[in-house]
């Protein structure tokens, strides 16, 4: 057993008598709470439900793809399933995942604040999220939508016979919850840092959430208005995107990706923040290249707004636009590479403790590296001409979003679970499921790179026979992955009741959130935090107060 764990046992105190979970009880105390920690848990429950809904859709269409014909479902059902999967996973799971759960819980704790700057706005953002979700779910139950999560016009605005208007209304509403969260984080990080918490002492988790918030606030309104325009064209035949009404279908693609490419960084930057916390803790070292990691987050957020055109290389965009967007997209590789190298260097001459969060973080580094490198492939113009809209793209972005973002999310959930609940999760089961997820993930998505370069287009309910073997591998991997995700669901529930008490700082980690009790009191700290050291002072004793 590792030293960190032994200390845990030694310091294993019962949780404080009063903390944010038991301060009061009842449905009202949760639904009307303005405590950022409780709101984080409301989000946790909601996005977990959405995650398993989106996952179930994926399992169903992967089953369909076991055979080359559309035999388990007809094409229409298949189209609705992949649309549901994309919509739910992106708008209702990945975008809120780390910011709305871990970010909500940790941003005030990490900077030594009592709450976010606008606690009521925070609660409102959850309600907005739920209302948006209900719209989308209603559309799904009434018969679903078959446009793909990208809503390309004029298919979505004129031709599709499904519940497009209702669904885009759901996505439109949900967008406001992320705008509100982003706004709240920006103000909180600027105005509510504890004395001594300078910008360059901030945990990198905060830097990455700051960068994410900028994208949320600046990008989401563009998506919102594009979706409104789709709905207006659909309901009132207003000519915006459909050329028969005098519109331009490619205009929609520009507007959509102006948000939706930066949205990829909304999903990955917070995971990078999580990894930047976990790696130093379990290496017992300061993070290598702090300022480079911090500013590379900002660089990714800024550059992310200038690369949307790489989704349009074959959309009749001009050749010169293609060249410019290819060039700018290449530049995103630089801050991403800087992060990977600095995390790796942090391990050098460390004193590495093997715990589940670290395994997730290392998994993130590896899979993000593959996702990032294949990003260079698709930024290279002639390669993209060939692989655009094939399974190569599907594989590439799942390496970023599942291999990256979800690995980061699960790593973070394990790392801060003791802080959130006051209990430890079972380490053996956690390692086992991390392994299952890693294997299942690679078996699902690696064959898709090969499929894509072979030329299999995405969103195909039926496909030529020669693609079957690779599809069967992918479907087999997906079922393993599905089981891998169910195991943590079970043991997290188990640990809430039976897990051993964690104590305030089970990992002997630095950072203000570990100086308060687990679970923290409603006001977060029982003293006034004063900061005099970096968030990564693993070579010093933790200084408190």
């Amino acid at each position: 057993m590792s030293v960190v764990a032994e200390r845990t046992v030694a310091s294993q105190a019962r949780p404080p008598r009063r903390h944010y979970l038991n301060v009061n009880y009842g449905v009202r105390s949760w639904l009307l709470t303005v405590d950022h920690k409780r709101i984080a848990l409301l989000y946790l429950v909601s996005i977990t439900l959405f995650f398993f809904l989106g996952g179930a859709a994926a399992v169903l269409f992967r089953l369909e793809l076991l055979t080359p014909r559309a035999d388990l479902f007809e094409a229409e059902t298949y189209n609705k399933l992949f649309t549901l999967h994309g919509l739910v996973m992106i708008f209702f799971f990945l975008i809120p995942s780390i910011p709305a759960v871990l970010g909500n819980f940790l941003v005030p704790l990490m900077i030594g604040a009592r709450d976010l700057a606008f606690p009521k706005l925070n609660l409102l953002s959850w309600y907005v999220f739920i209302i948006g979700g209900l719209f989308t779910l209603t559309a799904a139950i009434m018969g679903g939508v078959d446009t793909g999560w990208t809503f390309y016009t004029p298919y979505s605005s004129t031709y599709s016979n499904s519940y497009v208007a209702l669904t885009v209304t759901g996505a439109f509403i949900t967008g406001f919850s992320s705008i509100l969260t982003g706004l709240n984080f920006i103000v909180t990080i600027h105005k509510m840092r504890a004395p001594g918490m300078t910008w360059l002492r901030l945990p990198l988790f905060i830097w990455s959430h700051y960068a994410t918030s900028l994208i949320m606030v600046l990008g989401t309104p563009v998506l919102a208005i594009s979706l409104v325009l789709v709905a207006l064209e659909r309901l009132f035949q207003l000519g915006i995107f459909d050329p028969r009404l005098g519109g331009d279908p490619v205009l929609f693609q520009h507007l959509f990706w102006f948000y939706s490419h930066p949205a990829v960084y909304i999903m990955i930057l917070p995971a990078m923040g999580v990894v930047s916390e976990i790696v130093p803790c379990f290496s017992r070292k300061r993070i290598f290249g702090y300022t480079f990691i911090a500013f590379s987050s900002i660089a990714i957020a800024v550059l992310g707004f200038f690369v949307w055109g790489h989704h349009l290389f074959v959309s009749s965009q001009s050749v010169y636009a293609g060249l410019v967007f290819s060039f700018l997209s290449m530049l995103v590789a630089i801050p991403s590479a800087i992060k990977v190298f600095n995390w790796t260097a942090t391990l050098y001459k460390g004193s590495i403790v093997y715990r589940t969060p670290l395994f997730y973080a290392l998994g993130f580094i590896g899979l993000f590296t593959i996702g990032g490198l294949t990003g260079i492939f698709v930024a290279t113009l002639p390669i993209d001409v060939h692989v655009h809209d094939t399974y190569f793209i599907v594989a590439h972005f799942h390496y970023i979003m599942v291999g990256g973002a979800i690995m980061g999310y699960l790593g973070g959930l394990h790392f801060w679970w003791p802080k959130i609940t006051g209990r430890l999760y079972p380490e053996g089961w956690a390692r086992f499921s991390a392994l299952i997820i890693f294997v299942g993930f690679n078996l699902t998505f690696f064959p898709q790179f090969i499929l894509g370069y072979l030329g299999m287009p995405r969103r195909y309910a039926a496909y030529p026979d020669e693609f079957q073997v690779l599809n069967v591998m992918s479907s087999a991997g997906a079922s393993i992955l599905g089981i891998g995700y169910l195991i943590p669901l079970i043991y997290f529930f188990w640990s809430m009741r039976y897990g051993p008490y964690a104590g305030a700082n089970p990992w002997d980690a630095r950072g203000l959130e570990w100086t308060t009790a687990s679970p923290p009191p409603t006001d977060n700290f029982e003293y006034k935090p004063q900061v005099s050291q970096s968030a990564y002072a693993y070579d010093e004793e933790q200084k408190v107060g």
Binding site: V3, A70, A75, N79, D146, G148, Y152, P154, Y155, T158, Y159, P243, R244, P249, V250, R284, R286, F288, T291, F292, V314, S316, V319, L323, L331, I334, A337, I338, V340, N342, T344, Y348, G350, S351, I352, Y354, L362, G366, T369, T374, T380, L381, I383, H386, H388, D389, I450, Y453, L454, G455, P457, R458, A461, A462, P464, D465, E466, V469, Y538, D539
Partner: protein
């Protein structure tokens, strides 16, 4: 067993080898970094595993040389990828002047093609090997994408405008034609085959489709049927400018702009004539939006291009 499990697509165009070479460069680069990162992470994690409770890792200080090194090396590599890709992309974007010109229309959920000789095909495309072929694409409904993996080409088919792609087949055979842009319920059924054949076989195949008249002739007939010639005659008159010798010229508009009379211009002038009134004329032409199919537009444009071009082009052999 491996017949059921292809791992690499067949190469059947002049682009295929060039794209694959670039792909192999990227695969080599990616493999190097994946091995480097995975190897280093695993090595460090194993070598520096915590062995005693009193272990204190030595402080490692920021090394600017290292930070600069791992900024510069990736920068150089991505710039090579960009430059290499850019030059090939520019080449792939410019069809040779003498390319054989096929006209394609995508619609939910089929591909319609017409050869200059007039031969029509649905969901298949016969092409000669060793000759550049340009495909001009139009859509009757939603966005589609014309994709031939064996040729490494793809181009979206966008309603309301023309797009084009080109290739030169290098081997005989049958290859997949896919729609790559999601276009609705039967998207995965919008597939066809490309048949690349020796030029003599292609000619023989064309003659076997002799029942069709050449595209330009169909276009001329439509031009008369739609009464275009009542205003657009061989010389300009007060109702409309002549279209003889129009193609490829610059046209002065009422708005003071001057535009190139290319296919996009002619298409727009038929569908939305009031957007581009030629200088000196009144906006009296009716719109043909919704009254003329994409096939017919293709034919009229091909016909108009033959006006004022060398006479031998008027009747393609």
């Amino acid at each position: 067993m491996f017949e059921d499990l292809p791992l690499f697509p067949v190469r059947a165009s002049t682009f295929a080898g060039q794209v694959d070479t670039l792909y192999f460069f990227l695969v080599a680069m990616a493999t190097f970094f994946v091995v480097l990162i995975f190897g280093t992470v695993i090595f460090f994690t194993a070598k520096y595993r915590r062995r005693s409770a009193t272990e204190r890792p030595p402080p490692i200080h920021l090394d600017m040389r290292l930070e600069i090194l791992w900024t510069i090396i990736p920068l150089i590599l991505v710039m090579i990828s960009f430059g290499w890709g850019a030059s090939l992309f520019v080449h792939m974007s410019q069809a040779p002047e003498d390319a054989l010109e096929l006209r394609a229309v995508g619609r939910q959920w089929m591909w319609k093609l017409q050869h200059p000789s007039g031969a029509r095909e649905i969901n298949q495309m016969h092409v000669p090997v060793g000759k550049p072929v340009k495909v001009i694409l139009a859509s009757e409904d939603v966005v589609h994408s014309f994709y031939v993996p064996a040729f490494r080409i793809k181009m979206d088919v966008v309603p309301g405008r023309y797009t084009a792609t080109w290739f030169e087949a290098t081997r005989e055979g049958e290859f997949h034609l896919f729609c790559a842009e999601y276009c609705g319920t039967q998207h995965s059924g919008m597939i066809g085959r490309v048949v690349a054949m020796k030029p003599v076989d292609y000619q023989r195949w064309l003659t076997s489709q002799a029942s069709e008249e050449p595209i330009a002739v169909s276009g001329e007939r439509l031009f008369q049927q739609l009464r275009c010639e009542s205003c657009h005659q061989t010389t300009s008159n007060e109702k409309g400018p002549t279209l003889t010798g129009l193609f490829g010229r610059r046209v002065k508009l009422e708005s003071g702009e001057s535009v190139l009379a290319d296919e996009a211009y002619i298409r727009e002038s038929i569908l939305n004539p009031h957007n581009q009134i030629v200088a000196g004329y009144r906006p009296i032409m009716p719109t043909y939006q919704g009254q003329i199919s994409e096939d017919a537009l293709h034919q009229i444009i091909v016909y108009l291009r033959t006006l004022g071009r060398a006479p031998e082009e008027k009747n393609p052999s």
